[in-house]
């Protein structure tokens, strides 16, 4: 097995409370893996366990084919970047970068060389003599990344590094991190609760909830074929529309009926057979609903009433009511809708997801 980071049978508990239980994770060398989940899902705990910053209750952590479960963080060959930057406030940027090397008693030349290289990569040479308090948020985070860089780490760990930055800077640095990954080809493990970051950066995303990995896949699979209701609901903004109902045998095969909708399910890209009679939840992303002109003549077409419209420039979000259900649709910004307008609506079944109402797994 060829993996850079491997977590085996991991359990972490505080007292009687299991924060993480029986977790398996293998990360390939050079892979960019994102741990994604709502707060409290255990993603940061997992990252800290990989870093050796918290003690595991059971299981093993391997880095580069070495069992490091009980090793000190500094001996694991990792670099880490924190949400709050965690720069040493009393040290200049240069000292911040070199602190770990100085503690490890590297030679002066070596230190200078490494600091210079990191500074060059991150373009922070002019900042070297400054104190963190004199830096902007973006600059601080670059320095924090630089601190991980100088360690020549095999594995980089990012703990929500962009969450404290404003929206524009976040985008800039996101690109920068991706560029860095392409340049260094190091393994990177990245924790975030921001799905855009996850989708844009990751080779693979591990969606976590309740201390367990729900789904570990490449971004598009996660987006298009969420393995359960939680993942489906968590990924995507605005969230996927869900309709409760049941599967029924119809003339044209299995149909979905519920909450004022009735649509044939031909063309559904499923994992298991759709058995009639089952209670299910039918999910459609707002951008996958067929709307207005697109919907005309489609099977299962219904008529929805516009509640309100949110124009967003590139496209618009329209909130509709359909029977007692409320749903959102993403559409082109070419046409304006007024509250009360009645518009046709249909479903692109090939992009739908259907979940068992009981197990919440994708069918």
């Amino acid at each position: 097995m060829d993996s850079s980071v491997s977590v085996r049978d991991l359990r972490i508990s505080y007292g009687a409370l299991d924060v993480i239980r029986d977790l398996q994770l293998d990360i390939a060398p050079g892979e960019f893996l994102v741990l994604l989940g709502p707060s409290g899902c255990g993603k940061s705990t997992l990252l800290n366990a990989i870093a050796g910053l918290i003690d595991v209750s059971d299981g093993e952590v391997w880095i580069n084919e070495r069992n490091v479960t009980w090793d000190e963080p500094k001996d694991r060959g990792i670099g880490m970047v924190f949400q709050s930057y965690a720069l040493y406030p009393q040290m200049t940027v240069e000292k911040n970068l070199s602190f770990g090397l100085r503690v490890a008693k590297h030679s002066r030349e070596d230190i200078d060389k490494r600091v210079a290289r990191a500074a060059e990569i991150l373009q922070i040479e002019p900042l070297l003599k400054r104190r963190p308090s004199n830096l902007s948020g973006g600059q601080r985070q670059r320095v924090a990344i630089g601190r991980a860089l100088v360690r020549d780490a095999d594995v980089f760990l990012f703990d929500e590094p962009l969450s404290n930055l404003d929206a524009k800077l976040r985008v800039d640095l996101r690109v920068e991190i991706k560029r860095l990954h392409q340049r260094l080809r190091s393994t990177m493990v990245y924790v975030t609760h921001d799905q855009i970051e996850a989708l844009t950066l990751a080779d693979r995303i591990a969606v976590m909830q309740g201390g367990a990995i729900q789904q570990l896949d490449d971004p598009l699979t996660i987006y298009n074929r969420p393995c359960n209701l939680f993942v489906a609901g968590f990924i995507g903004s605005p969230a996927m529309n869900f309709f409760r109902g049941r599967l029924e045998e119809g003339a044209d095969g299995v149909r979905f009926r519920g909450q004022g909708i009735e649509t044939p399910l031909a063309g559904y890209d499923g994992d298991t057979a759709l058995l009639p009679g089952r209670e299910v939840i039918f999910g459609m992303r707002p951008e996958h609903l067929l709307f207005d002109q697109d919907a005309v003549g489609r099977p299962g077409q219904v008529e929805a009433v516009v509640e309100l419209e949110e124009p967003m420039g590139a496209d618009s979000l329209v909130w509709l009511t359909l029977g007692e259900a409320r749903l959102s649709v993403r559409c082109g910004s070419g046409r304006r809708y007024r509250p009360g307008d009645r518009v046709p609506l249909a479903f692109d079944i090939s992009r739908a997801s259907i979940f068992d109402a009981e197990t919440e797994r994708r069918l």
Partner: protein, 295 residues
Amino acid sequence: MSDPIHPRGAKPRHLTPGRIGLYAFLVFAAAFFLLPFYVMVVTSFKTMPEIQQGNIFSLPSKLTLAPWVTAWAKACTGVNCEGIRVGVLNSFKIMIPSTFLSILLGAINGYALSFWRPRGGNLIFAVLLMGAFIPYQVYLYPLVRMLSMVSLYNTLPGIIVVHVIFGMPVMTLLFRNYYAAVPVDLFKAARIDGGGFWTIFTRVMLPMSGPILVVAAILQVTGIWNDFLFGLIFAGRDHLPMTVELNNIVNTTTGTKAYNVNMAATILTAMVPLIVYFVSGRWFVRGIAAGAVKG
């Protein structure tokens, strides 16, 4: 209908009765707070006959420095008539190492409890909290005996140990609260950088503890200087701090009470904390707020 004035531009400002009352209160309060100090100062410059005949609020008719000289170098505590200067020296000898050691210990405790979560940390914390609030009387007698057993009772190191012991709770809480506000990420980063317990303490945490060190120093310097009880019980005759010396001087009289000398000695005793107070200004207030040990 009164004259229609059309409001325009800056609103006219009056010294309203309310404001006058406000200032009156403040001035009155200030007078109340200053009165004792005023009495101390004027009395210390008066001669004894003037004190006995005149009243405590009047200014000295003839300035005399003699009470100050006496208080400093000649006032008697018991048979020793060396003035309060002995106590000054003792107070410094007690205060400096006690302040240093208690802050050091408090900083280490606060740091260890905040970041390292050692086994039994909660117990330590609970006991220290208790220690900060419980009257000292509960500890005194056994402590006297314990210090006697290790031959520290009535010695300079003994009184320093006592100050360190009883300074520890507040110092620990102070540093614990301060370090609790430091992002844990910083500590984690330092660990990734390979810092051990002491490396992180000395090279990361202490350098960024400047403000709290100042606050701690103010608290300890004034607290230890103003201590009476421990000095009385633990210091031993040769290391009595200034407060105890002062009380002895005041209570040692040959003939009539030398109020002027006593007042001069009192002012001298209050001098160090007052200087700390006036120099540190805002920091002193911060010290009070910090000493309030919020959770």
